[in-house]
C-alpha cells in the first residue's frame, strides 16, 4: 500500500505529538514519588523561602513584593528581600495562580508551588527536543527529550515539592539555547530578540544565568577564531546582547552588574569583537588583500593595547566590581577553602566524584563522548555550541556537585545523537543493501577521502547472495538493536530506582523502616516548628544554625537570626560563636540579640547524620574567621587530633553551648551511645545555667531551649541556680523535691 505524501506527513506529526506528550507525562509522573509517599509538601530548605515569598506575592501586590523589607529574618538587621532575590519563580507561580483563578480553578498556592517543577520538566523535555532537532534531526530530538525527562541529574532538582529556582531555570536554559541556535542559523533579529526575552526570564529566575552569559559569547568567539564569522552571527549576537543586557538590568538584584562585574565581561568583549569583525569584513570588501592585511594587523595591536589598558584601569579604579568569591571558587579550586568557609561548608559546593556522574546519568555518561565525537563529523556552526557546552559543562560539574544540573542537558543531547546515529544505521530493516555490504553508513569517518565510493560494486552474483546477505544483515542489526534496547530499558529502571530512592525525600519528613518492614515516618521537624508556632509569642526570636532559618520562617513563622540567604557572614559567625563558646560567653551574645529560643538538631538518638554536631566544625571555622583570638578550631579536637564527643572530648568541646544543648539529659545515669558518631556519651550530668529545656521532639531530633531572663536579684545565673539547688538540699527536703520534679517531668 502506498501512502500519499500528505498522509505520511500527518501521521508523522501525530506520532511526534503523541510521543512528546507521553514523554512529558512520564517526566511529570516520575517526579511524583514524594507526593504519593508523603503528601503535597514543600521540600528541604530554600524552597521554604521561595514558598513564603510566593505567598507574600499572592497576598500583596507585585510592587509591594518588589519593595518587601523582611523584618522577620536576620534579626535585628532585617533583609531587603525584594531587592535581593530572583523574582522569576515567584512571579511565575503568582501568574499561574491568577490565571487558574480566572478560569474558576481556585487552586491553593501551595499546590501550585509543589507541582511547579514537574510541570516545567515537561516543558524542558520539549525545549530539549527542539534544541536537538536543530543539531541532528527530529528522531534524535525525541530521544533527547525522553532522556532529559527521566535523567536523575535533572530530577534531583525538580521533584514535586522542590520549589526552587532551578525548577524553571533548566527549561529556560534549554529554550534560550534553542532560540540562540535558531537566531544564529537564520541570522534573524526576530529570533535574537526571542532569545533575549527568554534570557531575561532566565536572569529573573536563577543566578546561574551567568552560564548563558558566558556560553553564547564563547560560542561566537570560537566561531570567529575558526574563521567562520558571517553576517548572521553579527545580527544574532548584536540583537541578543543589546536587548538581553538591557532587559537583565531591570531585575533589581542584578542592576548594574552586567556592565561592571567580571563575570559579564566576556559578553561585552565579544560584543566589541563582533563589531570589529563586521568592520573588518567591510574594509576587506573595499581594499586589496595586501592593504587589508596591513590595516588589520596594525589596528588589532592598537585595539588590544587600548582594551587591556582600559580593563586594568577600570578594575584598579574600582569601577568594575572585583572578582567575586563564587567566581574564584570555580576557577581556583583552593580559593574557597581558605578564604570563604561559608562556601566551603555547603555540601553542594563540593567537588564531584565519578560515582555521582554515573548515578545521575548512567549509560548516557559513556554515550556522551561518543555523541560529541559524532558531532565533530559534521561540525556545523551550531555543533560548535554543543562542543563548547560539553567541555565547560563537564568542568563545572566536576568542580561543584550542584552544577551536575547544567551538564545533564548536554549529556542527554549528545547521547541522543549517538543512539540515534546507531539507530539510523542498524534500525533500518528494509531489504535494500548496496553491493556486498549489509549496512549503510550514515557518515564516512574522518580521513576517508572518497565517501560512498567504496561500496559501489557490480551486480554479478547479486541474486545468489541476496538471501544470505539479508540474514547476515539481520544478525548484525539484531545484535546492536537488541543489546541497546536492553541497555535503554535498564536505563529507565535505573532512573526510576534513583528517583525513588535518592531524590524523593522531602528531608522535612524522614522515612524509616520498622523491623517488620512497614514504613515509619519521622516528623520531628514539623513537630518542633508547630510547637514554636503554637507556644511562643508571635515576635519570639529563634536562634539556630543558618540551615534551618528558612524552615523556621516558613513553618513556624517566627523571627530568625540567620537563614539560608547567607548574605552577612559576620552575623552567621556571631551565631557560630554563640554555639561554640561556653555559656558565660554565649549568654551575653544571646541577650544582645534578644534571643528567646535556641533550636538545635540532634541526631545522636536517631542516628541522623545531618545534625548540628556534625556541622559544628563549620560553625567553629566560620566563627574563627571573624574572632581568631577567641575561637580556635584546634581546641575542639582531642590532643590526638580526633573529633570526639565521648569522655575524651576536649574541654572547649564539652563546654560549648552546642555540645551541652545536644547532650543535655541524653545520658542520664548510665552512658548511652551516640548513634551517628558511634561514641559513648559519659553519664556525667550536663549543667545548663543560662538556658532551660523548652521542648524536645519525639525522636530527640529537634531540641528547643528557652533563654533564661536575667535573675531578679541581679545575681549571675550560675550562682542563682546553684543557690536554688543548694538551698533545697540544705533544708533536708532534697528527696521530696527531687521526686516531685521527676513526677512533673513525666
Amino acid at each position: 500500500m502506498q501512502l500519499s505524501a500528505s498522509t505520511v506527513k500527518s501521521i508523522n506529526l501525530l506520532l511526534k505529538v503523541s510521543i512528546l506528550l507521553t514523554i512529558a507525562g512520564a517526566a511529570v509522573s516520575s517526579r511524583l514519588f514524594s507526593v504519593i509517599r508523603f503528601e503535597s509538601i514543600i521540600h528541604e530548605f530554600d524552597p521554604w523561602f521561595n514558598f513564603r515569598a510566593s505567598k507574600y506575592l499572592v497576598n500583596n501586590s507585585y510592587y509591594k513584593f518588589l519593595n518587601w523589607f523582611d523584618d522577620k529574618t536576620w534579626y535585628p538587621l532585617g533583609r531587603v528581600t525584594g531587592g535581593t532575590l530572583y523574582p522569576g519563580l515567584m512571579v511565575t507561580s503568582g501568574v499561574i495562580h491568577k490565571l487558574l483563578r480566572m478560569v474558576a480553578l481556585p487552586i491553593d498556592i501551595r499546590n501550585i508551588c509543589v507541582m511547579m517543577a514537574p510541570a516545567f520538566s515537561g516543558l524542558t523535555a520539549y525545549a530539549t527536543y527542539l534544541f536537538t532537532s536543530e543539531m541532528k534531526d527530529q528522531s534524535a530530538g525525541l530521544l533527547a527529550a525522553a532522556f532529559i525527562g527521566i535523567a536523575p541529574g535533572y530530577i534531583s532538582r525538580s521533584v514535586a515539592g522542590s520549589y526552587d529556582n532551578e525548577a524553571i531555570a533548566i527549561f529556560l536554559l534549554m529554550i534560550t539555547f534553542y532560540t540562540w541556535i535558531k537566531a544564529l542559523k537564520m541570522g534573524s533579529a526576530f529570533w535574537g530578540a526571542v532569545c533575549a526575552a527568554f534570557y531575561f526570564y532566565m536572569v529573573a529566575a536563577w543566578g546561574g544565568y551567568v552560564f548563558i552569559t558566558n556560553m553564547i559569547p564563547l560560542h561566537v568567539f570560537v566561531l570567529i577564531l575558526m574563521g567562520r564569522y558571517n553576517d548572521r552571527i553579527y545580527v544574532a549576537y548584536s540583537t541578543w546582547y543589546a536587548l538581553g543586557t538591557l532587559a537583565s538590568m531591570q531585575i533589581p538584584f542584578v542592576g548594574f552588574l552586567p556592565i561592571r562585574s567580571s563575570e559579564h565581561m566576556a559578553a561585552l568583549g565579544v560584543f566589541g569583537l563582533v563589531q570589529l569583525a563586521a568592520f573588518a569584513n567591510y574594509i576587506k570588501s573595499q581594499v586589496t588583500p595586501k592593504q587589508f592585511k596591513y590595516t588589520v594587523g596594525l589596528s588589532l595591536v592598537g585595539l588590544i593595547a587600548i582594551a587591556f589598558a582600559g580593563l586594568v584601569g577600570l578594575t584598579v579604579s574600582g569601577v568594575i566590581a572585583p572578582w567575586t568569591g563564587r567566581f574564584y571558587s570555580l576557577w581556583d579550586t583552593g580559593y574557597a577553602k581558605i578564604h570563604i568557609p561559608i562556601i566551603a561548608s555547603v555540601s553542594e559546593h563540593q567537588p564531584t566524584a565519578w560515582p555521582a556522574f554515573f548515578f545521575d546519568t548512567q549509560m548516557l555518561i559513556w554515550l556522551f563522548p561518543a555523541g560529541v565525537y559524532l558531532i565533530f563529523q559534521e561540525l556545523r556552526d551550531e555543533h560548535i555550541f554543543v562542543i563548547v557546552y560539553s567541555i565547560l559543562g563537564s568542568y563545572f560539574a566536576g568542580v561543584m556537585v550542584r552544577l551536575m544540573l547544567t551538564l545533564t542537558p548536554v549529556i542527554c543531547v549528545s547521547a541522543a545523537i549517538a543512539i540515534s546515529t546507531l539507530l539510523d544505521v542498524y534500525g533500518d530493516f528494509s531489504t535494500k543493501t548496496k553491493g556486498d555490504t549489509v549496512l549503510v553508513p550514515k557518515y564516512q569517518p574522518l580521513g576517508h577521502e572518497k565517501p560512498g565510493e567504496v561500496v559501489e560494486d557490480d551486480e554479478d552474483d547479486e541474486t545468489v547472495d541476496k538471501a544470505a546477505k539479508f540474514t547476515l544483515g539481520l544478525v548484525a542489526k539484531g545484535a546492536v538493536i537488541v543489546s541497546f534496547l536492553f541497555y535503554l530499558g535498564m536505563f529507565v529502571y535505573h532512573c526510576t530506582w534513583v528517583t525513588s530512592n535518592a531524590y524523593s525525600s522531602p528531608s522535612v519528613v524522614l522515612a524509616s523502616r520498622m523491623p517488620d518492614g512497614s514504613q515509619h515516618l519521622i516528623d520531628d521537624y514539623r513537630e518542633a516548628y508547630y510547637w514554636l508556632r503554637m507556644n511562643t509569642p508571635e515576635d519570639a526570636r529563634i536562634m539556630s544554625w543558618w540551615d534551618y532559618g528558612y524552615q523556621i520562617g516558613g513553618m513556624a513563622d517566627r523571627t530568625t537570626l540567620v537563614d539560608n540567604n547567607t548574605w552577612n557572614n559576620t552575623h552567621i559567625a556571631t551565631v557560630g560563636k554563640a554555639m561554640s563558646s561556653s555559656e558565660e560567653v554565649a549568654y551575653p551574645i544571646l541577650r544582645q540579640h534578644d534571643v528567646d529560643y535556641v533550636l538545635v538538631i540532634f541526631g545522636g538518638h536517631l542516628g541522623y547524620s545531618g545534625d548540628d554536631i556534625n556541622k559544628f566544625l563549620w560553625m567553629v571555622r566560620i566563627a574563627e574567621g571573624i574572632w581568631p583570638d577567641e575561637i580556635k578550631e584546634r581546641n575542639y579536637f582531642t590532643p590526638a587530633g580526633e573529633y570526639k564527643v565521648d569522655d575524651k572530648a576536649s574541654e572547649a568541646m564539652k563546654n560549648s553551648l552546642m555540645y551541652k544543648m545536644s547532650y543535655y539529659r541524653f545520658a542520664e545515669g548510665t552512658q548511652k551511645p551516640d548513634r551517628v558518631r558511634n561514641q559513648w556519651i559519659p553519664p556525667t550530668p550536663i549543667e545548663l545555667n543560662t538556658l532551660e529545656e523548652a521542648y524536645t521532639t519525639e525522636n530527640w531530633l529537634v531540641r528547643l531551649y528557652k533563654v533564661k531572663d536575667l535573675d531578679n536579684l541581679g545575681r549571675d545565673l550560675k550562682s542563682a541556680k546553684s543557690f536554688d539547688t543548694g538551698k533545697a538540699k540544705k533544708k533536708g527536703k532534697a528527696a521530696y523535691s527531687e521526686k516531685r520534679a521527676f513526677e512533673l517531668r513525666e
Binding site: 546515529t421 555490504t437 553508513p441 580521513g447
Partner: protein, 351 residues
C-alpha cells in the same frame, strides 16, 4: 619519653620504640651538660639585646636566626631579658618524619629574614631555632612531647626557670603558614613588619626559557603545526580527553588532593575504595579508560563497521563490538556496586 603527635597527624618520635638510644645518649650527655651549665653560670655573660645584636652573625644559623642548643638555650631564654625571643622548637631530622617541621622551617627563616629587613637593628626581637637533635635536655626540661612548637618569650625582669611565661602559636591547617605565623609575631611583639618573599630567579629563568622554547618551536615547526592544528581529529581527541577526565572525577582528585592508590591490610593494592563520595586517583584513570573504550565501540559501530567493504566483515566487527560493550559495561556496573552497595542492577557477573 618523647611522644610527639601533632594535630596535622604527624607522629614524631615514639620513645617506646627506641628507648636505648635516648637513655644511652643521656647518660653521656647529662654530666657534661651539668658541668657546662655550671661553668657558664660562673663566668656569666649578660645576654642582653645589645650583646646578642653584636654577636648575631656568630650565633646565627641563617640570616637572623640564632641556633639554639642545650648550652645556650637557658642563657638566651632564661631571662632576665629586655627582648622578645621568638623560638621554634623543631625536629627536622629525617628519622622523626615530622612533615610539618620541615614545611615550617623555611617559613620561619623567611619570617626572621623579613623581620630583619624591616628592623635592621633587630628592635629587641630575636629569632631562634632549637632542633631536637641538639637540645634534647631542653625538650625534656620543657616537658615537650610534640613538635614543632612555635613560642614567643616576652621580655622579663626575673630570672625564670626554663620555659617560663610564653605565647604559643597553634598551627592552623592552611598551606602558607608564614602568613598566620607572621600575624602571630606582629600581635605578640607589637612590631610591624612585612613578609618579604625572596625573588624567585629560578622561576623567572624557567619562565623565560619556556616562552623562548615555545616561541622557537612555533617558528621552526610553523608549517607542521598549522597542518596539525587544522586537523579535525586533533581537536576531537583533545575535547574527548578533557570530557573524559572531568566526568571521571579528575577535578575531585585535584581539589581533594586524593591519594593515587591505597593498600589493604595485607598490603595488596586497592583500586576502588568504598563510599559514594570517595575516590582515589587510580579510579579516575580506570573509569575514564572504560568510558573511552565504550565510547570508542559506539563510534566504531556508528562509523567504522558500516564502511567496511564486505558484509561478513561488517557482521563480525559488529558482533565483536557488541560483546566488548557488554563486557565493559558489566565491568562498570560491577565497580559501581563497590561505591553503592544497594544498587540493584547487574549485567554479567564476571567481575
Amino acid at each position: 619519653m618523647l611522644l610527639c603527635v601533632v594535630i596535622q597527624g604527624v607522629t614524631l618520635i615514639n620513645a617506646n620504640i627506641t628507648p636505648h638510644w635516648h637513655q644511652r645518649k643521656m647518660h653521656v650527655l647529662a654530666p657534661i651538660v651539668a658541668l657546662f651549665l655550671l661553668a657558664t653560670t660562673a663566668f656569666a655573660q649578660v645576654f642582653d639585646a645589645e650583646f646578642i645584636r653584636e654577636n648575631l652573625p656568630s650565633l646565627s644559623r641563617s640570616k637572623g636566626v640564632i641556633r639554639l642548643n642545650d648550652q645556650n638555650f637557658q642563657k638566651l631564654v632564661g631571662g632576665p631579658r629586655d627582648y622578645h625571643f621568638v623560638v621554634l622548637l623543631t625536629a627536622e631530622a629525617a628519622q622523626f618524619g615530622c612533615h610539618l617541621c620541615k614545611e615550617f622551617g623555611p617559613s620561619f627563616d623567611l619570617l626572621a629574614a623579613s623581620y630583619l629587613t624591616d628592623h635592621p637593628d633587630s628592635d629587641n626581637v630575636f629569632f631562634g631555632i632549637a632542633d631536637f637533635s641538639e637540645s634534647q635536655a631542653t625538650y625534656r626540661g620543657l616537658d615537650l612531647t610534640a613538635a614543632p612548637n612555635f613560642w614567643i618569650f616576652p621580655p622579663t625582669e626575673k630570672n625564670i626557670p626554663i620555659g617560663g611565661e610564653h605565647y604559643k602559636f597553634s598551627f592552623p591547617q592552611v598551606d602558607n603558614l608564614e602568613v598566620p605565623a607572621g600575624n602571630f609575631i606582629r600581635e605578640v611583639t607589637g612590631k610591624d613588619f612585612k613578609i618579604h618573599y625572596p625573588f624567585r630567579w629560578d622561576k623567572l629563568f624557567s619562565a623565560i626559557l619556556t616562552i623562548a622554547g615555545v616561541g622557537v618551536g612555533l617558528v621552526v615547526f610553523k608549517k607542521q603545526l598549522k597542518v596539525f592544528f587544522a586537523k579535525r581529529n586533533v581537536w576531537a581527541a583533545a575535547t574527548l580527553v578533557l570530557i573524559l577526565m572531568f566526568v571521571a572525577g579528575h577535578m575531585y582528585n585535584i581539589i581533594r588532593k586524593t591519594q593515587y592508590i591505597v593498600a589493604d591490610g595485607n598490603n595488596n593494592p586497592v583500586y576502588f575504595v568504598g563510599g559514594f563520595s570517595q575516590q582515589i586517583g587510580v579510579e579516575t584513570q580506570i573509569i575514564a579508560l572504560t568510558y573511552a573504550l565504550l565510547a570508542f565501540c559506539v563510534i566504531s559501530l556508528a562509523l567504522r563497521a558500516p564502511s567496511l567493504n564486505t558484509g561478513s566483515k561488517q557482521v563480525g566487527v559488529t558482533l565483536a563490538l557488541c560483546i566488548v560493550i557488554l563486557v565493559a559495561y558489566s565491568f562498570l556496573l560491577a565497580k559501581f556496586h563497590i561505591k553503592n552497595g544497594g544498587y540493584p542492577y547487574h549485567l554479567l557477573n564476571i567481575f
